[in-house]
């Protein structure tokens, strides 16, 4: 007896046509998913080794967008960060290991940055800032090791910020150099609460996601840190990134490309597929 037929027959008995319904998981997250928000100047890899263990063009785009979320405010933002775990390849209907060079649509961008976290800009102390990056890179694999389950806590940084990491050093001492908007940050951090850096990040990180709770404490609720939640475009990370893309990378000529903002010493690097 073909058991599959049996199942089908039984199912047909019980399940009158139309009685079953399922969610439409392919429903786009935005009204106009095909609207082009900008152009990619190169192929962008979305596998976790690329979003959590290396510089990534879309991570940098989002960090830049966060950096400019509060443009015009009295105190300018110096740094935007986004955790690599916020960039996803799964998509709603299909998994996208990479995004091709060329136009990027609003629908796809919202699927890559799909958690819809709000963006908050807040003052951090130097200790917190360095702590953030130490936590960001503490799980990076040493050169020669395989990159296995990279941590989503890895942070991408905005334009004007460079970070040098030495994976040969012990966790907690891996950041060897950090410059934020031209300011050189002292490594190790000075224990001076008056030294502040204005940093934009998602509520996910600020609320302690991916293990940042111990470093950031209640900075998001502390008036002294002057937390400001982005208002434009609903304040969500994906909307802010899309708007920034539209204004900054509007054409194939002005297209988004990855920048070497984080320099990896002695770290494992993901193997890039051969360019097509």
């Amino acid at each position: 007896m073909d058991r599959r037929h049996l199942t089908a027959a039984l199912a047909a008995l019980a399940l009158l046509p139309g009685c079953l319904a399922y969610n439409d998981s392919c429903t786009p997250l935005v009204d106009d998913p095909d609207a082009v928000v900008g152009y990619l100047g190169e192929e962008v890899q979305l596998a976790s080794a690329f979003t959590r263990h290396d510089n990534n063009a879309l991570g940098q785009l989002a960090a830049d967008a966060f950096l400019h979320a509060e443009d015009g405010a009295a105190k300018p933002t110096e740094l935007g960060i986004i955790n690599g775990g916020s960039l996803r390849d799964e998509g709603l209907c299909v998994t996208r290991p990479s995004l091709r060079t060329g136009p990027l649509t609003d629908g796809v961008l919202h699927e890559v940055i799909l958690f819809e976290n709000l963006v908050v800009t807040v003052d951090l102390t130097e200790k917190q800032l360095v702590g953030l990056f130490e936590h960001s890179v503490e799980a990076l694999a040493l050169e020669g090791q395989a990159i296995v389950s990279p941590s989503g806590a890895f942070l991408h940084v905005s334009d004007g910020t460079t970070l040098r990491v030495d994976c040969a050093r012990a966790a907690g001492q891996r950041v060897t150099e950090l410059r934020v908007k031209g300011r050189t940050v002292s490594i190790p951090a000075r224990d001076d609460a008056s030294i502040r850096y204005r940093v934009a990040m998602s509520t996910f990180v600020l609320d302690g996601g991916d293990g940042y709770g111990g470093i950031l404490g209640n900075a998001g609720q502390d008036p002294d840190r002057n937390p400001v939640t982005a208002r434009k475009l609903g304040g969500t990370d994906a909307n802010i990134a899309a708007a920034y893309m539209k204004s900054t990378y509007p054409s194939p000529v002005q297209a988004l490309k990855e920048a070497p903002r984080i320099v990896f010493d002695n770290c494992a690097r993901p193997a890039r597929p051969a360019p097509r």
Binding site: M1, R3, R4, L6, T7, L10, A11, L13, A14, L15, C19, L20, A21, Y22, N23, D24, S25, T27, G85, S86, R88, E90, G91, L92, C93, L114, F115, E116, N117, Q145, A146, V148, S149, S151, G152, F204, D207, G209, D210, G211
Partner: protein
């Protein structure tokens, strides 16, 4: 014990009534009867008389549907007893006796009485009735009164009615009410009695042949009149012997019966003749058409009058053929109202307690090929049982699955753990008399926790000794048989006012072992060289050892009621099926110990009501050790990052509950019953230890210890809780065909007060739960129900406060939220129940639709990709659907049933395209067939199937972790013998004989890519013995 029935097709009025065996002195006696084909009946009367008195008449009032009730006043209830019969006033003015007659009344013993030894029928016949000393005094007291006109009775009696005297099972209700009536309470002597006595009675019933159409006992009765002494003795045995029969089960009854046949004939007892004709359906000559027709028509009656409590009828049938025929199933399926008699606290309000329910008695469970409770629950319409990676059986009702929202009771004692709401419910069915399921809320009767449904497990306390051994196992893919064996032994005995029972279940299984190709640590394990890339991640493990031991004693204090003490101990040790979450952890060990103890007291009121009190205690200790990674796993470089035994965590929790409750049942008027209840319950978390062998940064600890930052849950407001509940339920029969039920329950639950600012501040949260039921008996065959009920549940301490520090290896756990509020559900149900009979074939159809609105449900929805606090979903969840069941019976041993359910659950907080929740199949379909294969063997086939499931879309993570769980079907088949040598029964069965695509969900289907494999085909042999 006499059971009167008429062939269905005769269309003559007939009465299903089982007389009580015994009644209390000076206590009113309630008699219930079910009228069939009563179209021409205007009124029903009970005519009764005390010793030396003339017959007095009281009307029977229609209660609901086709159930009639009469109360014999307390002043007539004097020792040694009363006699009665039931008469109908017909449309044409005639009076027809429907149950017994003036000449042959039923007899109820009143007052204390030495119990008659179990083998009921044997004494009267073998030793000669005259030698039965116990019956003599009672009988002599009944000097025939001036019996004018009574001699005419037999002549007028139409063949179909009293002639078919079926000394059937006691009507459980009648018996219950006659005695102190709580069939749920283990100690209840009378209820148990009733059940046990039923069986022998029934077997007897079929014997005094319906086929002949004549009253087999009439002659003896006639003789009796000529010889007062002899007659009285015969009469005494007739009415009383079966009623006092304490023979526990079918085996003894059939044995005695068989042994009786010859002596009876020799004694030229009038009853011998019909039996000698081979009409006894239990004899091999059963296949005789006359006999089978007779028995099946008896069953027709039974089926049609399934409103008779399930246990009684089931037992009766079981005894008659010893086979637990599938017919028995319908009792349960079709007598939900009666079932609720046991599930609800108010026995008097049984019929009209607003609820949609089902019940499975022993016979049914056996016919299903069920070994455990979850096997049974999975065929209830609207109920789905699935297993999670940790191996827990999770019961979903109407499309939603939450452990804390299905109330499990064992003999009325709650099994759900105070800490996490889980219940050690998957017990072997051998020890169970019945499983009852109410779908929808039960909060008007129960408090918090009876939310999505109530499942009541009732252990078997009937007198006698029972044993069963099942052995078999699962053929593993390595060719080995994974053995599984369970044994059951139980005994109960009644001596005077003292009743004792004890039972023991032992269960051991190696369990199936199925390949898990991928788990969450695939990459790491391969990278660290712990296994090859083409090796599977591991295998499931399903070993289990279970002990279930219980015992109790109860004592009747005459007018002061009955007191009882029961205790039960459950202990389970088992493997985790996979592990904590999505990593194979074969060293995981889970143990669970439960101790339940109850002290009960109950006393009937003189007006028919009763009062009951219970003091209960329970303690549950769980010890769950999970292996989170493979052996020799590394979290990094360095000696302290190597874990030879893998990363491990262990959670040990002990909770205690002390409960005191009082409830009283008051008869305000004949048509109005009020039930009041009060319950106070103190629950506490007395131990909570969470230890890991690793630090938060992934280093090996020298010895397991609590991680930094762990909250001590035994302190603080959530660690203990006082629940107070006040309930009132009134059942009012407005018109004969219309019964209204109003219930109100007021619950005050102590919860943490998050506003107070201190950790241990508590506040009482008060919830009011109303319940309204409208039951319309549109005709004899059709009953309509409209029900509304509200229920609530308070968050568990785990949901409120458990916070386990997050690491990469124990991720996926949610964070407690002290701000959680109780969640409530409003349920609307419409039900219809229809019975049709044509010839020997009977069909019963029951269907209902429901709409449930859950306000502020407590749901862990992880929207951010990280551990988030649980919260109340503000916009709620809505579930609606239909459930339907049908049963067709062609003969006593041949039946088919089918049920289907369809539900749609929606989380209203989500956009339209993402609302549907499919934790469990939206559609379920179950069906079964039972048929005889010759005289001695029955074949049962049960099919279970479920529709495809998909992931929920409540959060972004759920959106991107797409998965489908395919539709499945399972077939269980078994061969079951009729009783062998009257003490044994053998069942050979295969579970999951054809298993297609049965899979369960896991938390991360993207990691355990093949989903969780479920147990495959398994085969067992069961030997049952009863004495």
């Amino acid at each position: 014990m006499v059971f009167v029935a008429a062939p269905v097709h005769a269309q003559e009025p007939a009465l299903l009534h089982a007389p009580p065996q015994r009644a209390e002195v000076r206590q009113p006696l309630q008699l219930d009867a079910t009228l069939v084909d009563g179209g021409k009946v205007l009124e029903l009367f009970v005519r009764y008389r005390g010793p030396g008195e003339p017959y007095v008449q009281v009307p029977m009032e229609l209660q609901y549907g086709d159930l009639y009730r009469a109360i014999l006043p307390a002043e007539h209830m004097v020792s040694p007893g009363v006699e009665y019969f039931i008469e109908a006033a017909m449309v044409d003015g005639a009076r027809t006796p429907l149950f017994m007659s003036a000449l042959r009344p039923a007899r109820v013993m009143v007052g204390a009485q030495t119990p008659v030894p179990p083998p009921v029928r044997a004494p009267p016949v073998r030793k000669g009735t005259r030698e039965d000393p116990k019956s003599a005094p009672d009988i002599d007291a009944f000097a025939p009164p001036s019996g004018g006109g009574e001699d005419d009775e037999p002549a007028r009696t139409p063949p179909p009615t009293p002639s078919t005297s079926r000394p059937d099972g006691t009507n459980a209700r009648a018996s219950t009410q006659a005695g102190p009536p709580d069939s749920r309470t283990p100690n209840r002597a009378d209820s148990v009695d009733a059940r046990s006595s039923t069986r022998p009675g029934t077997s007897d019933s079929r014997a005094p042949g319906t086929p002949s159409g004549t009253d087999p006992r009439a002659p003896s009765r006639t003789d009796a009149t000529s010889d007062p002494r002899a007659s009285s003795r015969v009469a005494g045995t007739d009415s009383r012997v079966p009623s006092r029969t304490d023979a526990t089960d079918s085996s003894s009854s059939s044995r005695t019966d068989a042994s009786r046949a010859a002596p009876r004939t020799d004694a030229s007892d009038s009853r011998a003749s019909p039996r000698a004709n081979g009409t006894d359906p239990r004899t091999p000559g059963r296949t005789d058409t006359g006999a089978s027709r007779a028995s099946s028509s008896d069953d027709a009656m039974a089926a049609l009058n399934a409103d008779v409590p399930p246990d009684t009828r089931a037992d009766s049938r079981a005894s008659s053929s010893s086979s637990r025929t599938a017919m028995d199933d319908d009792l349960a399926l079709y007598s939900a109202e009666d079932v609720l008699a046991v599930t609800s606290l108010q026995e008097e309000a049984v019929r009209t307690v607003p609820a949609i329910g089902a019940s499975f008695n022993r016979a049914q469970m056996i016919a299903l090929g069920a070994r455990t409770v979850s096997d049974v629950l999975d065929v209830v319409p609207g109920v789905s049982v699935s297993r999670d990676v940790q191996g827990f059986h999770r019961t979903a009702i109407r499309g939603l699955r939450n452990d804390a929202e299905v109330l499990f009771l064992l003999d009325g004692h709650r099994l759900n753990n105070f800490f996490d709401g889980k219940a050690l419910m998957n017990l072997p069915v051998e020890n169970l008399e019945r499983i009852e399921v109410i779908r929808g809320p039960g909060s008007a009767i129960y408090g918090a926790g009876a939310f999505q449904g109530v499942v009541n497990l009732i252990t078997n306390h009937s007198d006698g000794v029972r044993g069963a051994v099942t052995t078999g196992g699962v053929p593993r893919d390595d060719g080995r048989l994974a053995l599984a064996t369970d044994g059951h032994l139980s005994a109960a005995h009644t001596t005077g006012d003292l009743r004792l029972f004890a039972d023991l279940d032992l269960w051991t299984q190696e369990g199936d072992s199925l390949v898990i190709d991928h788990d969450a640590l695939d990459d790491e394990s391969v990278d660290q060289g712990l296994r090859d890339v083409d090796e599977p991640a591991g295998r499931t493990r399903d070993g289990r050892f279970l002990v279930n031991a219980g015992g109790g004693v109860s004592y009747g204090l005459d007018s002061a009621g009955r007191v009882g003490v029961t205790a039960r101990y459950l202990a389970e040790k088992r493997d985790a099926l996979v592990g904590l979450f999505d990593t194979v952890g074969n060293d995981s060990e889970l143990s669970w110990n439960v101790l339940l103890a109850d002290l009960t007291w109950e006393r009937p009121f003189s007006d028919g009501g009763q009062v009951r009190a219970r003091l209960g205690f329970d303690q549950q200790s769980t010890d769950r050790l999970f292996q989170l990674t493979p052996h020799d796993f590394r979290t990094g470089d360095g000696a302290d990052r190597l874990f030879p035994d893998g990363l491990q965590e262990q959670t040990q929790v002990t909770v205690r509950t002390v409960t005191a409750s009082v409830d009283a049942d008051l008869a305000l008027a004949k048509e109005n019953h009020l039930t009041l209840g009060f319950v106070a319950e103190q629950q506490s978390l007395s131990q909570y230890d969470y230890t890991t062998n690793y630090t938060l940064d992934g280093r090996l600890r020298p010895s397991p210890a609590a991680p930094e930052g762990l909250v001590d849950l035994t302190q603080g407001a959530a660690s203990s809780r006082l629940n107070l509940g006040l309930s009132a339920q009134d059942q009012w029969t407005v018109l004969s065909a219309l019964t209204l039920t109003f219930g109100l329950r007021l619950d005050a639950t102590q919860l943490p007060d998050a506003d107070a600012g201190t950790l241990d501040a508590r506040k009482m949260v008060v919830r009011v739960n109303p319940r309204v039921g409208l039951v319309i008996a549109a005709s004899d065959a059709l009953v309509l129900k409209a029900l509304y009920g509200r229920a609530f549940r308070a968050p568990t301490p785990q949901e409120l406060v458990e916070r386990i520090p997050d690491t990469d290896y124990n991720q996926g756990r949610f964070e407690g939220n002290p701000l959680l509020q109780p969640t409530t559900v409003d349920t609307f149900e419409l039900g219809v129940d229809l019975v049709q009979a044509a010839g020997d074939t009977r069909v019963r159809v029951r269907a209902n639709g429901f709409l449930q609105n859950f306000a502020s449900p407590i749901t862990p929805v992880d929207t951010s990709g990280n551990i988030v606090p649980l919260r109340n979903r503000e916009l709620g969840v809505r579930v609606y659907g239909v459930e339907a069941e049908a049963r067709l019976e062609a003969s006593k041993r041949a039946a088919a049933w089918v049920n289907a359910s369809l539900s749609r659950a929606q989380d209203l907080e989500l956009p339209e395209q993402a609302r549907l929740l499919t934790d469990v199949p939206q559609a379920r379909f179950n069906a079964g067939v039972s048929m005889p294969l010759g005289d001695w063997v029955n074949l049962d086939v049960v099919v279970r199937s479920g529709a495809e499931r998909r992931n929920n879309n409540r959060s972004t993570l759920e959106l991107i972790r797409r998965y489908k769980i395919p539709a499945y079907s399972l077939i269980t088949a078994q061969l079951r013998t009729e009783p062998i040598w009257e003490h044994f029964e053998v069942t050979l069965f295969a579970q999951n004989l054809f298993d297609h695509d049965l899979r369960d969900d896991v938390p991360r289907p993207d990691r355990v890519t093949g989903l969780l494999p479920r147990e495959g085909v398994s085969g067992y042999l069961t030997l049952r013995a009863f004495y």
